[in-house]
Symmetry: C2
Subunit: 376 residues, 2 copies
């Protein structure tokens, strides 16, 4: 059974209503995020092997049908709340041929279909339209992303727990670091700790000293030196959902300048978070961050300072100057300002729940408000 | 500088010739794999954030141009052998608007363009055709995949080294396992060892005991019991390239039946590998595996028993009954038969280089021909 049982009727029901409002006959969801959300099953190979499509067909006036690759059949039958499961055999027929057959069987070959046009590749899309030329296609990427942005109570519990576990894992790994320990050993410990806290490690960026200034650093055999900045941005997978946290620390001892830079970054971070509440546009948080950085002599050169988090890593809304989506109760936002002035990047990231009357930070297993000194 | 310097002229030159043969005016590559191959730069966010396009435009009769998101500019200017780098700013303009502008500037707005239609989503593809309606589009996914399938000497060295490192990492992690150690501790150790051997851990599946029979297991706090099968399928990232190895072991002691099953699986694995040589169709290896399994009373229910490996995880050719691509010198093939009869899955995977007169297994840091007993 899926971890997020209460999404069941809610997710399918909300998607159906949105489909009706948009004048659709059916939604045909094929992104990892929407398929997981609508079916309750996280099929990890959807990410690793994107050609192996898994598809939820949700007519607005009939029961949903789940079309899956035969390799995933056992998991889907065990875990999904969708009872009508259809199978295609990989390499025997393409997923799109199987989909066209299914749509015809459901009487939807001349229907108005809501497709995720950013999740379907141009070749598959072209093939599908050739097979059911009478259908009308409407993009539903944004509509389905909107639905996913509001988390259910079980999703909030899951994402909060995931964030706390990942935060504690980072803390343990950073506390094992010290001058003389190699970058590679710290990265390895981070991987071990996040893996142990999660279903699996999803991604890991770790830089120290010279490489703390690089966006996508690779750990080397260099031993940490006193004063090296340690910076990580890591995430795990938890029942198909992401954690995503960035933390900054220093090895051995911090210079007064670094201590001060970090303290000002943290203040700016808290100032942005203090503005999180229902009705606030995502773009307002970016604007607050710009001013908070300017006032403190920090350097912001990022196209966004955060994003919604859930089944996807960078979900809508994005905390960018161009996203005016109003925050709503139940959204969970990763707020991640970074100071980047050419030296080491100072980066912090927390997960923030939008509550009825404001917000709640759910990702702090320890006090990160002052710079952590590792191996002092 | 890129690790695979010798791909430089070779990759661009071969792609250009292929484009000419196909009657194209330019290739517009946008997949992670092709962009890495043609530019020499591995931009990790291309996988994590697929909407952030990075694009190589390679006219058949002019110098290549690399269109990248401003966030990646520093890395690209430092590492790519393509000198003409153009920038778009995320959220200010979409990558497709920037691409259309660039194609117009290069006089290609009415040209015949080779696009990767399986890498470009239907929305971006539709937007591009609206912006340059005079262009003719041809799919080049398979053509570019063909070029990537033949590895350069530096790529062969890199992939062989990566495979050996990952194999040694698995061996160390398995040797730390024993009855009483939890599944989670073994998974965590695997993550730590692979991370320490690589730029980063790319994926990790680990099952033990009851979960050794599940395709995508999640490690729990259950302590290993004597006789539990341990099965892993893991990969790392090495300068943008994958390792991918599966290994099977047992905790404490093996039953005679398990020892025998594993020995027969290994024999079948070796029989398949013995057939790897230039000119052999990929589908022939699948057929050999079917017979090798039948003869030994093993159960094969997989749509493929391996795949090419490189910048992508499952690259062409696939070792499936339907892929008749002939193997060529310089291909590197992951051969991965598995015995799946409802009990624990027994799974082995090695990386095999196709040589001028046969093949060479490049992934064995230790002897896996008999079942490894952990913590005996």
């Amino acid at each position: 059974m899926s971890i997020v049982e209460d999404v069941d009727r809610t997710a399918l029901g909300r998607a159906r209503r949105r489909g009706e409002e948009m004048g659709l006959d059916a939604i045909v969801a094929s992104s990892y995020e929407s398929v997981s959300h609508l079916s309750g099953v996280s099929i990890m190979t959807q990410r690793a092997i994107p050609d192996r499509l898994e598809i939820v067909v949700l007519p607005v006036d009939a029961e949903p049908v789940f079309l899956v690759c035969n390799i995933e059949e056992a998991q889907v039958r065990a875990e999904s709340w969708i009872n009508d499961v259809r199978i295609y055999v990989e390499f025997v027929e393409t997923p799109v041929v199987a989909l066209a057959k299914l749509l015809r069987e459901l009487g939807l070959e001349r229907a108005t279909l809501g497709l995720e046009l950013r999740a379907l590749n141009a070749a598959d899309h072209g093939d599908l339209l050739e097979l059911i030329p009478g259908a009308t296609v409407v993009g539903v990427d944004a509509a389905l992303a909107d639905l996913r942005a509001i988390k259910s109570p079980a999703e909030i519990t899951l994402l909060s727990d995931a964030a706390l576990r990942t935060d504690a894992a980072i803390r343990r790994a950073f506390e094992s670091a010290a001058p003389g320990v190699t970058e590679r050993a710290v990265a390895s410990r981070l991987a071990a700790e996040v893996q142990a806290s999660a279903d699996s490690l999803a991604f890991l960026a770790f830089g120290a000293g010279p490489s703390a200034g690089i966006a996508h650093p690779v750990a080397t055999d260099r031993p940490l030196e006193r004063g090296d900045v340690l910076r990580c941005d890591v995430g795990g997978q938890y029942s198909g959902y992401y954690s995503d946290l960035a933390r900054t620390a220093v090895a051995g001892a911090a210079s007064p300048a670094l201590t001060s830079d970090y303290a000002r970054l943290w203040e700016a971070h808290e100032e942005v978070i203090s503005q999180v509440a229902p009705g606030v546009p995502a773009s307002h948080l970016y604007a607050v961050c710009v001013k908070a950085f300017e006032r403190r002599g920090l350097t912001l050169n990022l196209p966004h300072i955060g994003h919604s988090l859930g089944l996807g890593l960078h979900e809508a809304p994005m905390l960018s100057p161009f996203d005016d989506t109003e925050l709503q109760e139940g959204m969970m936002i990763a707020v991640e300002p970074a100071h980047r002035d050419g030296g080491p990047i100072l980066h912090v990231e927390d997960l923030v729940l939008v509550t009825a009357d404001g917000h709640k930070v759910v990702s702090r297993s320890a006090d990160w408000s002052t710079l952590l000194v590792c191996g002092a």
